[in-house]
Symmetry: C2
Subunit: 193 residues, 2 copies
Amino acid sequence: MMDTTPRKEQIFQTAGAMFSRQGYHATTMRDIARELNMQGGSLYAHIDSKEDVLWEIVERAAAQFLESVRPLAGLPLPASARLRRMLAAHVDVVTRNLDNATVFFHEWRFLGPARRAHIAAQRDEYEALFRRVIQDGVAAGEFPGADARMGALLVLSAGNWLYQWFRPDGALSAAAVAAQMADVIIAGLRCVE
Amino acid sequence: MMDTTPRKEQIFQTAGAMFSRQGYHATTMRDIARELNMQGGSLYAHIDSKEDVLWEIVERAAAQFLESVRPLAGLPLPASARLRRMLAAHVDVVTRNLDNATVFFHEWRFLGPARRAHIAAQRDEYEALFRRVIQDGVAAGEFPGADARMGALLVLSAGNWLYQWFRPDGALSAAAVAAQMADVIIAGLRCVE
DNA sequence: CCTACCGATCGGTAGG
DNA sequence: CCTACCGATCGGTAGG
């Protein structure tokens, strides 16, 4: 079978896998080229710089998180139901793009200042979505004793740290992980005093 | 004031700070040397290799986690009280050694295979401490509906992700963070069905 | 702890 | 997309 994926996309895919395993700085352009049966310099017919490749991976991951979760935050559902769906969407993005999620969490700080600031802003917006839903739950009496800030941090800590231990071939499916996490966290937000 | 810290310790401290900010591979031995007003080659009068420096930082961090938490796991207290103390100890280690904790979480995979395996074993032992305490709570009826594996992952996700957002000069003290986290998580383990 | 240096390799480019 | 190359810099060492 021929791989009909455009070369540029192959470079992003291969780079994502290698950056996630070895890290951005420990992966050389020649490593990526070798994986694609090319010479190092030939990569530059498709991309302009190593940092551009990192940027593409990180920016796409950030966009995926926001695009998956944002539509759920405003659904006409109780806060606990919205939070459950948002966490499931987050877990879905992480587990279906483990390599790129790992690069996103680990390597975004190696972007230049402007790009780093852009990612930081998206991350802040993303956090705020979770905080707001929990705050809704506090206001509605679903989570009477909860602190929205700590609640959001807890949800995102669980959802993010996932990239460290989740294995696609493991016993737990992404949906099962998300459901179990949501069960405990939502119970905590309901019962905490 | 003269700094009376032995040169070797100064190297570990400086390397910890720089590895945490720039990453292991993006930090050069000459970067570390410059910070200490030395020439690059002079570092090798005190250490044998760059990887040895990383190893010292990572191994010390792993030991600190285990030595702080292990004595608490077997205390004659209810599981929830033990878990609370263990999380507080964990948060204490992270927040009092933010640089080294960051290096521990981010850079341990760049160690050689033998050293990496050693750290992986310590991490597994550490996780088991938390799992066992939660299992005790399940058996004792404190956490009747909880899953020990997911509970431990939740505690450690929150405790580990901390290195990403905790700021020593922020509004929340380490003790306050640990207490709030424990409140929500323990409530969740108690109330989940 | 410094000077001076080693071989290796890096990201990126010119020219085809 | 390859060949051939650029200047820069890497981790580490010899000799003092």
